[in-house]
């Protein structure tokens, strides 16, 4: 990616991270649509021999053989038996029955996590710079599990089975599905086994935001990643015939519009379809749009497809207006015709112009790439939000990372829009989603693994979470683009990842397999369910009191019953492990709203040696509040040198 290394502080802190032997021993496995091995992001220049513990393979298939792997791309497998059993044989004229990526998504995520350094990267000149993955020296292993018809759980499970066998260190999975209980969810099941083997599993939180309870991949042994913006934008202004300008974004590159305003029409007025405003396939009347710029509303079909529909009907340009579902979030696309995306407010104002003007005109002014946009990051509207619908006592997402307008490697088999009609081919593409934020965290986890080979997956996640930030440099709270207001832990989890701070977190909240088994007991899982999930005979101790609130998680999610009269009291126990220098840490709470009293016992913890563990208890005393009341706070332990932060989300349901 370009810009994210600078945005995350990696460029300036390069000397803090191991760049040689230990970093190149780490293997990042990516379950996705495969890989385009010819991408410069997978060049192996300067990398030494493949790690001795590697047991993977480079499988052959359509347009792919073992010579496509190298010292960067050390493994590539594909899993299609489940897919073919349901949907029939793969049509090899349409997609490669091999690890080759015909979609682009897999090459994008893999290169984001661990792509090599590529100078002069850009998409049509947009986002130009030196592209690199987060862990440039880590090795990449590709497990293709997603096909044109989707990603099937039997294939995902088979890929995770192999990734465990192959000795992958970090598993990056930018996919999800539904909200199944953990023992029914193949990703959660596979991730449990991976965690047992010391692999960190990083998953995307989902793009079902900004509504609440929209998360996927919420198992506590998974690192769940939401998405935020960068400080980069691609402005393309709308200039109406009345001289008014509105901000938009675009990645269009091609024949420019004539340097004058053009006739302008609202798609809803150029269609006989009830949903004509959405520019769905075949709904525009060519006579009404020919030679005009068309305003389409966002929703239902792909954004880039709307542009293709306008173009096919003879339109010369498109303005894509957000509706309430997306608010002011602007996602840039490499449209096939001159086009820009505007927020809901601008869209409404432009629609008002149609009403007041019988002969509306407009043009679009493309401004290229701008950096230094503030505030940034802001939580992306699409990023899925808590509370956690499976286990409300575990706060998810865990954290956010860059996921909007991310440039990374792409497939040579498909154009940047992914449309069949897009015959353009690019080395890099700019796309958005929690799919893009997840591999950022996967790559950063690989860097931490290289720096601290003995840390467990939970310790690595803890370091990433407790050092994440929720305020800008000016001390203003991080914003949510969906509301324009301060984001909450249900939106950003512990905050935005800060890899430089995560390298030395001071203290970590560690977790073992036994802790997670106790968590399953606390969920009242049956013996069968535990055996299904954890592949072992494990009986919960009937004499022991298990509590979900005692899972040593780096964040707090507290639930009070709104029906209960008077005050309620809940206790959470946590244990901190010293991974820094000796120090005395003091607890502090920042509380945003009343309604709950939070006390920490003890309020001071002293650590005199490495790996020393100290426990504390947090007591939450809540007053009676109406249902669906939420309150947020933050607990910090600090010795003046290190600050170990935990978000707190309190719900009355």
């Amino acid at each position: 990616t370009t810009r994210t290394p600078e945005f995350l502080g990696l460029s300036k802190a390069a000397d803090l991270f191991p760049e040689s032997d230990s970093a190149s021993e780490v293997i990042v496995g990516v379950l996705d649509t495969g890989v385009w091995p010819e991408s410069k992001s997978f060049a192996d220049t300067g990398l030494g021999p493949i790690p001795s513990g590697w047991k993977g393979a480079c499988e052959s298939g359509t347009n792919f053989n073992s010579s496509n792997c190298n010292r960067k791309l050390i493994g590539a497998r594909y899993f299609a038996k489940g897919y073919e059993a349901t949907l029939g044989p793969i049509d090899e004229t349409k997609e490669s029955k091999s690890p080759r990526d015909d979609d682009g998504h897999g090459s994008h995520t893999a290169s984001t996590a661990a792509g090599s350094v590529v100078e002069g990267a850009s998409l049509f000149g947009y986002a130009e710079g030196t592209a690199r993955g987060m862990a440039t020296r880590a090795r990449v292993a590709i497990y293709k599990v997603c096909w044109m018809g989707g990603c099937f759980s039997s294939d995902i499970l088979a890929a995770m089975e192999k990734a465990v066998d192959d000795n992958v260190n970090v598993l990056s999975m930018s996919l999800g599905g539904g909200m199944s209980d953990y023992y029914r969810d193949s990703v959660a099941i596979g991730a449990f086994a991976a965690m047992e083997k010391g692999m960190l599993v990083s998953c995307s939180a989902g793009n079902a935001g900004p509504g609440p309870y929209s998360l996927s991949n919420v198992a506590p042994w998974i690192t769940t990643v939401g998405a935020g913006t960068l400080d980069r934008d691609f402005p393309a202004y709308v200039r109406l015939g009345n001289g008014r300008n509105y901000s938009g974004v675009s990645l269009y590159k091609g024949s420019p519009l004539p340097g004058k305003v053009l006739p302008f029409v609202y798609a809803g007025n150029a269609s006989n379809a009830t949903n004509g405003n959405l520019c769905m396939m075949g709904t525009l009347i060519p006579e009404k749009v020919a030679g005009k710029i068309v305003l389409c509303d966002r929703g239902m079909n792909a954004r880039v497809q709307k542009g293709a529909v306008v173009k096919a009907a003879g339109g010369v340009g498109m303005i894509l207006a957000n509706t309430a579902a997306n608010g002011e979030e602007l996602v840039a696309d490499a449209h096939l015709l001159p086009a820009t995306a505007v927020g809901q407010k601008s869209g409404d104002a432009i629609k008002g112009y149609f009403l007041s003007n019988p002969n509306p005109t407009v043009t679009i002014l493309f401004e290229g790439t701008k950096v230094g946009i503030e505030p940034s990051p802001v939580v992306a509207a699409f990023s899925s939000r808590g509370p956690n619908s499976i286990t409300p006592e575990i706060l998810k997402p865990d954290l956010i990372a860059p996921g909007v307008n991310i440039l990374a490697g792409w497939s040579g088999a498909v154009g940047p829009t992914g449309l069949v009609t897009d015959t353009r081919r690019v080395e890099f593409n700019i796309i958005s989603g929690t799919s893009m934020s997840c591999p950022h965290v996967s790559g950063l986890a690989a860097l931490l693994k290289a720096a601290h080979p003995d840390w467990s997956p939970a310790a690595i996640r803890s370091a990433l979470m407790t050092t994440a930030y929720t305020e800008y440099k000016n001390k203003e709270k991080m914003q949510d683009i969906a509301t324009g207001k301060a984001s909450t832990p249900f939106d950003h989890g512990a905050g935005h990842v800060d890899p430089v701070s995560a390298l030395n977190p001071g203290l970590v909240y560690d977790l073992t397999v036994e802790d997670y088994l106790g968590f399953l007991c606390a969920l009242n899982y049956t013996e069968f369910q535990i055996r299904s999930l954890a592949r072992r005979n494990f009986s919960c101790d009937a004499s022991k009191k298990y509590s979900v609130t005692d899972l040593n998680y780096p964040s707090f999610s507290v639930n009070f019953d709104s029906i209960t009269d008077g005050s309620s009291l809940v206790k959470y126990t946590r244990t901190l492990t010293n991974v820094g220098s000796p120090g005395t840490y003091k607890a502090s709470i920042t509380q945003q709203t009343p309604g709950v009293k939070i006390s920490i016992q003890p309020g001071t913890l002293s650590f005199s040696q490495a790996n020393e563990k100290k426990s504390y208890t947090v007591t939450f005393t809540g007053s009676s509040q109406p249902s669906n009341t939420f309150s947020f706070a933050r607990l910090e332990w600090s010795d003046g040198k290190y600050t170990v932060g935990s978000p707190i989300a309190i719900s009355w349901t």
Partner: protein, 87 residues
Amino acid sequence: AAPLEKKNQRKTYIVHMAKSEMPASFLHHTHWYDSSLKSVSDSAQMLYTYDNVIHGFSTQLTNEEAQQLESQAGILAVLPELRYELH
């Protein structure tokens, strides 16, 4: 004919086995898995066998066969395939 077709329609299931309960007569767990599968369907084939992430296998079964299999000793769960999507 439609209900009959539906009844016989095969879907993919992931079968979780209690490996520790494998009868001593089997030399290898895959033989036990295969025998369990054959006891409910002559024609069903294993898609994958799993040992690291679960103990079990995936296969295509009718709804009736899946229910029969789930009721057998040594079977922990027979879960229908789920489709996931890229984010």
